[in-house]
Symmetry: C2
Subunit: 331 residues, 2 copies
């Protein structure tokens, strides 16, 4: 089976990566069309040695494709995707617009591919920080049950798009040169600094990114009561998110079994020899599509609790790659 494919938001950081991954993985496609806003229309992106021109997105043109991979702002997605998606045009959407909509599957193929229905119309791609977390949680949830998950993230600027990547570069260069700290993308400077603020804030003090991690993990793991507490922090790193994770399991465990389980988990690589300086790092995620897990250790007080440290490439597994993997499930 082979599709007419379209990429919506093709000029963005994730959109470009989707095109690259479709080529890398030799995705079975009839043809590829690229769509973006008026501003990017006319630009070209190379695909398998040919230059493909970006077209201005319209509903009519998008509906000519059978399968669309979309990475556009949430508001635009919410407006336009329901007009596009139907049984003849499946949309895999990277925005947060439909993730919590009942009946719309939220998929990490290694974790819950069985939740993709026979005749999907919209399939939601989860938030980057959720994807790498549930990949690691899933085998532990299945074998031991999750009593509680406390996670603090260390999220790279590429999660905010190309402009944030450039801002980190510019702010860093400026500060190295003149010592000046000036915010060029976020409300506050990010170079050599940390911002515990990702997305907008809810009335109860949680950021929307933190709320996403709770709600999306619950939906993907099929555990609507899951006790998960997240703190999301932006760090001066270009690519790759890290997560410090404290877990309480419902059953006793042997640490060696946990390591074996994670070593065998699809999409996950056990990378855990701290004395040899082998632990997950965001820069390592630039070189691999695997989610790295390390720093595995049992809590010194509660024998049913353990720590993990997780990194993954937020643009690839956290977004573009996961979307393409969902598409592969449909083929």
């Amino acid at each position: 089976m082979s599709y007419n494919i379209g990429v919506l938001g093709a000029s963005g950081l994730v959109g470009q990566e989707i095109v690259k991954i479709l080529e890398e993985r030799d995705f079975p496609l009839e043809n590829i069309r690229l769509f973006a806003s008026e501003r990017s229309a006319g630009k070209t992106i190379e695909f398998k040695g040919k230059k493909v021109e970006i077209e201005q997105l319209t509903v009519a043109k998008a509906k000519e494709s059978e399968l669309l991979l979309s990475s556009m702002p949430s508001g635009i997605s919410q407006e336009i995707i329901p007009e596009i998606a139907d049984s003849n045009t499946i949309v895999i959407d990277n925005s947060s617009a439909f993730r919590q909509v009942e009946g719309i599957p939220l998929i990490v193929p290694e974790v819950n591919r069985e939740a993709i229905p026979e005749q999907p119309e919209i399939i939601a791609n989860p938030n980057c920080s959720t994807i790498q977390l549930v990949l690691v949680l899933k085998p532990l949830a299945d074998k031991y049950g999750l009593d509680e998950v406390v996670v603090s993230t260390y999220q790279s600027v590429s999660g905010s798009g190309q402009k944030a990547v450039e801002a980190l570069r510019e702010e860093s260069a400026e500060q190295l040169k003149s010592g000046k700290k000036q915010a060029k993308y976020y409300k506050r400077p990010i170079a050599f600094n940390l911002l515990p603020a990702i997305d907008y804030f809810h009335g109860d003090g949680f950021s929307n990114e933190e709320v996403k991690m709770l709600n999306e993990s619950r939906k993907i793991l099929g555990d609507p009561e899951l006790h998960l507490n997240a703190t999301c922090v932006r760090v001066p790193v270009y690519y790759g998110h890290a997560e410090s994770c404290y877990l309480k399991l419902n059953k006793d465990f042997k640490l060696v079994d946990i390591k074996d389980l994670l070593a065998a988990a699809p999409g996950v690589r056990l990378y855990d020899d701290p004395e040899k300086a082998e632990y997950p790092e965001p820069v390592l995620s630039e070189e691999t599509d695997e989610t790295l897990v390390g720093r595995i250790r049992r809590d010194r007080v509660n024998s049913r609790a353990l720590n993990l440290y997780i990194t993954a490439n937020n643009i690839r597994k956290g977004a573009a790659l996961n979307a393409v993997q969902i598409a592969e499930e449909l083929v």
Copy 2:
């Protein structure tokens, strides 16, 4: 009362800051002498407009001072400080050498000044990441009792000393120029990266920094059973440590009472209006000696759990300032 003061390890990042803070706070001293290793002997540091020459440290010379503030590597401290300290020469030691020794007080003045004995010989200054944590935990422990503390740190490179600060600068400049990622201080690159590895690793997988946070918090808070779980991560920030903290209390609480309590806590400033981009940041700790606390929110599942986010200047409150404050308690 006024002392003959000496600073051991005066040429280091913390040593220099101690000299600066003694001047800033107009510490009542008769005279000041500066000591360091042979390598730094002969260099001068300015104190109140005068150049003070650094002397090579010997036990005999050090014993001529009545009060010594010391910031030297742990091994050297372990060896030499017991020879120096006695009832005529009190040593306030910033190393980890004596922190867990029974009978040696481990002091954060705002938290446990009452643990300083009448006739101290050695007083230990806690680890940087512990100091800012216990400042915030203390009022909550007193009023509600701590059931559990889960903390993930974001620690700046200055905690490793001047060479690490320079390495971050050099690595960052190099990467901006050529894209090359080369470790110049730690085992792995720190520029635009994260390293979940601070100090050596224990057999059970915890890093020594994580173990310090557990053991030192227990000693300072006087709660040898405290359930605290720490993950310590080095981040590409020059000055200021951040801590993402999840707490379970033993009693019900109102969030407004927690905020009032922290707003009134000595050495702590409530800085918590995320919608106005007011949250603790390490760069803010370059401008204040207060420990900032924000992002305060009740967990969505467990009503007795809450999150906090804490930053402080690791070189000042986390080391030099706390040492000088201990000295002030003796005056």
